[in-house]
Amino acid sequence: MPKYPVGNADQISNGTLVHAQAAGRDLCIARTDDGEFFAIDDACTHEEASLSDGDLLGREIQCPLHNSRFDLATGAVRGLPATEPTRSYSTAVGDDGVLYVEIEA
């Protein structure tokens, strides 16, 4: 599966969310408090708010507008009002220190 660079891993602090673009998609990149990276589509499935403007809650993310929650690892819904999952992507930090996201062509 193609891997796309989204930035230097060490420039994304623990406990933060950032917006990135790769393969024509808007992505929300999350780095949890313990340093783990996740990537999901940057649009809430309830209403198209940017999830990267939301709150990071452990391994979940909460939409800033209507408070829907999603599991960062799977994209599954963890809190209403969203009922449909968002898409999640595998991430890996390369030897060059860059964070890559795997996105199906």
Partner: protein, 416 residues
């Protein structure tokens, strides 16, 4: 369907509305599209600008998104759990315990409309940050003050002298501001000053609307207290107490009817997983806001193929949309908690609207899972207390309503 707006309402609706042909959407898919589409704006359709003007639910665009994000922060993250543990569950317990202690003629009795409405007034007061509304007597005093505000806000749907009802509502809103809002805001400003001077830790600030107003996080509210009062009255007092209590009384009524047919399910009424689909089904059948209006920003088309011209006013009638047989099945008019729902459709239909203007109170009413929201938790508490219809006093409809189905009183007994 094209009809005169005046045909379904009293002649006291605004002249502008009465003279306007309004296209009414009753189809679920069209209604869903109208709620979600960026090609339509919200409009105050019922002359209630004194209450709803400029509020979250009546604004669009970046302005709306910014305020929604700020206000939603009250119930985001830990705020959601904090509200549930420190406000919602203690309030439900306090009010159900009070109902149980009001014994008359050998049984605890009460009016479900009042029990629920007072409970929601305590929730709303906490969410706003009002002082002293943490007991039933104080909630009743606030409820009595705010009742005319609610009457004014729904007067478009009711009979009576509308001008007089509106003026009384405005007077009560001003009284609410002077007696509740401003003193509480003053206390919040003092707390903010103490945080700024280092006398108090920011973590000690309450999770409420007035803390946001005092913080200046949203200039629309901190620089314009009229606007902040309207927000509190519209989104927290009106929607958070009257609308929420009406839907919950309908829900309990629906559950009583269900138990008439399925008495074996009574013990399951304290099982949140069992109750949630029932609450959702009751919300679908009894949406408390029947009409919502949208105005087209440009020429466009609805999913049904109906063309809409720029500037056209459209009325969404949530009641038939929530009973659309193509979406909810041939038995859409029936109470069936086991019904199959298509993907992307809520079990409660459009009871809270959807899209960017979805009801602000959804995280309170449904919680994060549906099962931990106010309605399921209140139903559980009432049935755990043995609530039943009062066999000696049947419930009474509010006969002033033209297009809202409201209970005026709903006497119950507790047989725990």
């Amino acid at each position: 369907m094209v009809e005169q707006a005046a045909a379904v309402n009293s002649e006291q609706i605004s002249e502008a509305d009465a003279q306007t042909d309004v296209y009414t959407v009753e189809d679920f898919r069209d209604a869903l599209h109208l709620f979600r589409s960026q090609k339509f704006n919200v409009v105050v359709h019922d002359g209630s600008e004194e209450f709803r003007g400029g509020t979250l639910r009546m604004t669009d665009g970046d302005h709306h998104m910014r305020r929604r994000k700020v206000l939603g922060g009250l119930l985001r993250g830990d705020g959601d759990e904090w509200f549930r543990e420190h406000v919602l569950l203690p309030t439900i317990k306090r009010n159900v315990d009070a109902a149980l202690s009001s014994e008359q003629n050998g049984s605890a009795r009460g009016d479900l409309v009042l029990i629920i409405r007072r409970s929601f007034f305590q929730l709303a007061a906490s969410l706003i940050g009002l002082d002293g509304v943490d007991n039933i007597e104080a909630a009743e005093k606030l409820r009595a003050l705010c009742e005319p505000i609610n009457d004014a806000m729904r007067s478009w749907y009711m009979t009576g002298d509308r001008a007089k009802i509106m003026q009384r509502g405005i007077d009560c809103k001003n009284e609410f501001r002077a007696d509740y809002f401003e003193p509480a805001l003053e206390r919040h400003v003092c707390m903010r000053d103490k945080v700024q001077s280092g006398e108090m830790d920011a973590s000690e600030l309450p999770h409420d609307f007035l803390s946001i107003v005092a913080s200046g996080a949203e200039p629309d509210w901190s620089e314009n207290h009229d606007q902040a009062v309207r927000e509190a009255v519209t989104d927290m007092i009106n929607a958070g107490t009257f609308s929420s209590s009406y839907t919950l009384v309908h829900t309990v009524d629906q559950l009583f009817s269900w138990l008439d047919e399925h008495p074996e399910d009574r013990a399951r009424m304290t099982d949140a997983e069992f109750v949630f689909p029932m609450v959702s089904e009751a919300l679908r059948l009894h949406p408390v806001v029947p009409y919502l209006f949208r105005k087209a920003k440009e020429d466009t088309e609805l999913p049904s193929g109906r063309e809409v011209k720029a500037g056209e006013l459209i009325r969404i009638d949530v009641r038939p949309a929530n009973r659309d047989k193509e979406v909810f099945g041939e038995d859409a008019d029936e109470f069936n908690p086991a019904r199959e729902i298509p993907t992307g459709v809520y079990r409660w239909g459009l009871a809270f609207g959807t899209g960017r203007h979805m009801c602000f109170g959804v995280p309170i009413i449904l919680g994060s899972t549906g099962e931990n929201g106010s309605h399921v938790q209140m139903v559980k508490a009432l049935f755990a207390a043995g609530v039943e219809r009062d066999p000696d006093n049947p419930p009474v409809w509010n006969n002033d309503s033209k297009s809202l189905a409201l209970w005026e009183t709903y006497p119950v007994v507790f047989k725990s």
